[in-house]
Symmetry: C2
């Protein structure tokens, strides 16, 4: 088992990576009172709820199973958590445990932030994507029909337990979606790690435990460093959103849940790389390596033909990074080096959107 | 104009009391960017929105009018704020201005806490109750069918502008409801102020500007001191809830909006005083003075006959102060001295509930 720390003063917390759910007393250590509410979904609960129960023999546990999928990440579903907590007379000492992927983690964290103005919570992410991204850093929230994650809070967990054993039951498509965010860390801040991913992609796709352990650890390490510098995203933290402004537009335009978040981010990162190259900041070779690595990870690199330029611009202009009406984008100025800019020539942005719809072998030349 | 400060480190902010909306540039000083969204309601906006517009000539202003009343303080109404913000492409630099009473302030503050994970907001409370209580201290939130203020956040405003001129248009019943919270400050921490209220109640009810200014200033001063010691209500802050556990039960049982919050708190404070006396902590004379002052302020001291003991206990057991299944109550150990306890003999609690239903002249003997 590996451990690292997210350093946020009095809000600091540990991340554990490995066969963590089998570690005696580890989860219990991070729960202060007797009352626990495990929030999970209809897919994950049948597989792993029992493990949680076993590791908390002395606690009083209630459970909530949310419907599975991004399309349920909204205020209505959130309210069902409050309903259950109140019906079961849960109070301010109750700890919420998020057992599931990013949707469960984001909603549980936001519910914890809001229930009686704040109760503690623990993240037990069960997808690769949530282990390397959403469970770390305290971003919680729900979607609005007009934009992803538009309603939420910065609210840090007591601990993150990333169990690598549970990834064995993950559908292939979700494994790839998680790898998209791992590739992101290479692109924004570690060229060596990017090269390691090029060499070890087959092992990751085969769920090799050593390879996954390393990739998750390095990803969380990079994220924890960035978050520790800028908890509430006043500056540097925005680089973690490489590909996300394009990606959110794709997710929203297609309807939540049609494209997985990681899939949309994959296509979006390639768009960001392409735009960086058109703006003269990035070598074509990095764009090519990015596309090749995404394809190797079985991720989409071509965007849906039905999303118009106008839709992209409209959806991108509600992005949380927008300032004074200007779209701000995370771009690359080298492999492992990201930057945020609102100085994007419109004509190049349109070109990037247009070529993103072409088959991989024709595009980005 | 008077000014005082809520001392919360980097979250500190000023409270201005007096003819503040006429002060040139005062509101603008606390708004950092150009975009402003004024959230008000259908009663207050026609009266005072123009004043706000006049004081922000260089800003781009959108407005949202919520339906008026506690019964609309819920997630559904909250979502209409998000709808409007997103439709109007408001971003993270937008400042929300809450122009209205406690319902508008609580919902606007919570919307500000959650929109894009947090935007700045300013409180412009237009009722006496919100000026002396809800606008100060950062408690924001909405109600749930199963309990008041069960969903919310601690989120501090940039400034509070309590304009005493606007109180002239306040209905008598709402003026009295505000006075209930003012009496609370005397009861929990300032016997001298309580005596001043006994002497000056007629002036307050006549909206004498000097008297109101003093009462608001002293109330905010007491609240600011308590909040500065305990922002997130880990301890001492709970004393601000004198009468609120009983009061919330009355409000919830009767249906939100039937009893005004201040009215329910008035009856609840008398119950707390009565229970304190039965537990041997408080002189009968303080109970009598409390009842007399509440009656002088035209506040209810008799609780609705239709609320059963069982309902009280059930509603009080979802109170946010409940710990390990025990109801915790704020009680008085003297005039101007409050305490929190979970050691309440059930038989005395029942007696207090029973006598609270009797006409004032029969009860509490």
């Amino acid at each position: 088992m590996k451990q690292l720390n997210v350093d946020l003063g009095e809000r600091s917390y540990p991340i554990y990576i490995g066969s963590v759910l089998k570690q005696d007393g580890l989860l219990a250590k991070h729960i202060k009172a007797k009352q626990v509410c495990v929030v999970s979904n209809t897919t994950v609960a049948p597989l792993y709820l029992k493990l949680i129960r076993n590791s908390l023999p002395d606690h009083s546990i209630i459970t909530i199973n949310l419907p599975d999928g991004e399309e349920h990440k909204d205020l209505t579903t959130l309210n069902t958590i409050f309903d259950t907590l109140l019906t079961n007379r849960q109070n301010r000492t109750t700890t919420l445990v998020a057992l599931g992927g990013g949707v469960v983690g984001d909603m549980t964290g936001f519910a914890a932030a809001c229930y009686q103005r704040g109760v503690p919570f623990v993240q037990v992410p069960t997808t690769l994507l949530s282990q390397v991204d959403s469970s770390v850093g305290g971003k919680t929230g729900v979607n609005h029909a007009q934009g992803k994650n538009m309603i939420g809070a910065f609210y840090q967990p007591q601990a993150v337990l990333a169990d690598t054993d549970v990834l064995l039951t993950l559908p292939e498509r979700e494994l790839s979606a998680g790898i998209a965010e791992i590739i992101k860390y290479g692109l924004i801040s570690d060229a060596e790690f990017f090269a390691w991913l090029e060499d070890n992609m087959d092992a990751l796709l085969a769920c090799d435990k050593q390879a996954l352990g390393h990739a998750i650890h390095r990803s969380c390490e990079i994220k924890a460093e960035v978050v520790a510098q800028d908890e509430r995203e006043g500056g540097i933290r925005a680089i973690l959103n490489l590909g996300h402004t394009f990606g959110h537009a794709i997710e929203t335009a297609m309807g939540y849940g049609v494209w997985l978040h990681g899939e949309a981010v994959a296509a979006g990162m390639l768009m960001a790389a392409d735009l960086s190259r058109r703006m003269g900041m990035l070598d074509q070779s990095v764009v090519d390596r990015t596309q090749a690595l995404l394809l190797k990870a079985k991720l989409p690199v071509v965007t849906p033909a039905e999303i118009t330029d106008k839709q992209y611009l409209s959806l991108m202009s509600v992005d949380k990074k927008v300032l004074d009406g200007k779209i701000r984008l995370v771009l690359l100025k080298g492999l492992g080096e990201a930057m945020v800019t609102s100085e994007v020539p419109k004509v190049l942005l349109h070109k990037t959107i247009q070529v993103s719809r072409l088959p991989a072998e024709q595009a980005r030349r």
